[in-house]
Amino acid sequence: MVVVMKERASDAEVEAVIAQLVEQGMDVHRSTGASRIVLGVVGGGKVDPRLIELLPGVHEVVRISQPYKLASRTFQAEDTIITIGDLRIGGDEVIVIAGPCSAESEAQVHATAAAVKRAGAKVLRGGAFKPRSSPYSFQGMGEAGLQLLREGSNAHDLKLVTEVMDANQIEVIGKYADIYQVGARNMQNFTLLRELGRTRKPILLKRGIAATMEEWLLSAEYILSGGNKDVILCERGIRTFETFTRNTLDLSAIPIVKELSHLPVFVDPSHGMGRRDKVAPMARAAVAAGADGLIIEVHNDPDHALSDGAQSMFPAQFDRLMAELRIIAPAIGRSICLEPVARRGWAR
């Protein structure tokens, strides 16, 4: 960090700051300028910049290093690649996760899973525990829903991601899902993050609607510091003054976070936009901006969905979107769904 002293800081004030830094094991490089003194501070000691800023004569403390370590590019230069069976997340292939907001019935799960598989998705999404804004709305099917989602993904050779809302759900969800999702509302539920750090399944960590990129990476750090190295970051829209869409999908997070961190970055255009007619353009933009994957809500019959129908795509719309993404991805050296798909007669 760099400590900038006030213009009229006395020698005694400067000396007190240096003494405190040296005492805490830091190396101090004192530069005396024409009007003020700047202290360059390096070393392995632990110094709280806010405490230094409170010392008399200090004008400003500028932090140079990031507060997160394991999540940073400095700690690991090469991209993290997460492997689940034959699936590689974070490599050249853009991975698409798709499925309904929540599991509603066997027929719905199977029809949707079949449709997203046919279009080229690799992972099925779906919720079983759904605490909604109103306690009288559909609350999800619970473990029965997890069972349906697992059967649906097995039947169509898809991996499964589902949201974990509370530490007491980790065990039961772990029996069914391949990836735990942490929702935007839980991004700073540090107790939950800590517990997930002890698991060994990948975590899809959504960005909170009012979280800065740094706070988001610090949440990832909670999981990483517990020993779970497989964290996927997912941008899903942040709160801004714009009210036309539910949230503003912050696509700038993709190149920024990919520079700051080695973790894969996904984008959820469904929750970011809140309406299905705006999902495809943002999904295309996300892939063009370098996202490692997408998570998209698709329902076999959105008009009769029990939750999030308005933002769920029809299977035909999703199919068309995937075809467009297959054209966009190669332009930036990526690919989407290299596997032959059953519909084209290349079935395994």
């Binding site: 020698d11 040296v22 005492e23 190396d27 005396t32 070393g43």
Partner: protein, 110 residues
């Protein structure tokens, strides 16, 4: 210095001077290292602002007497760098010592 010297000759001259400077810096660092050990035994802190101020005042005085192109502030800035490094040598030594005694580095044993 004679102005008729060529650029190459001047650069050779600078290289020779640098050799002397580095040898002197080495001698100074060895001294600072021993000072660090003594401070440690006497329980004195690594950072002694009064001593640093005295060093700067001294080299300013020496420099003023020479009347060359380096002004006093320039010499003070160069010496700030040199003393930064001396402090670093003393910190590393203090930490090594503390590790040997298996005591955490604290205000009292630094």
């Amino acid at each position: 210095m004679a102005p008729e010297l060529s650029l190459e000759q001047l650069r050779e001259e600078i290289d020779k001077i640098d050799e002397v400077i580095v040898r002197l810096l080495d001698s100074r660092a060895r001294c600072a290292y021993t000072v660090g050990r003594l401070k440690h035994e006497l329980g004195r802190p690594i950072y002694e602002p009064a001593r640093e101020a005295a060093v700067i005042a001294h080299v300013r005085q020496v420099n003023d007497a020479l009347g060359g192109p380096l002004d006093g502030d320039a010499v003070a800035r160069l010496y700030e760098r040199i003393m930064d490094e001396a402090r670093r040598i003393q910190r590393i030594e203090a930490e090594r010592d503390a590790a040997k005694n298996e005591q955490p580095v604290t205000k009292n044993n630094i």
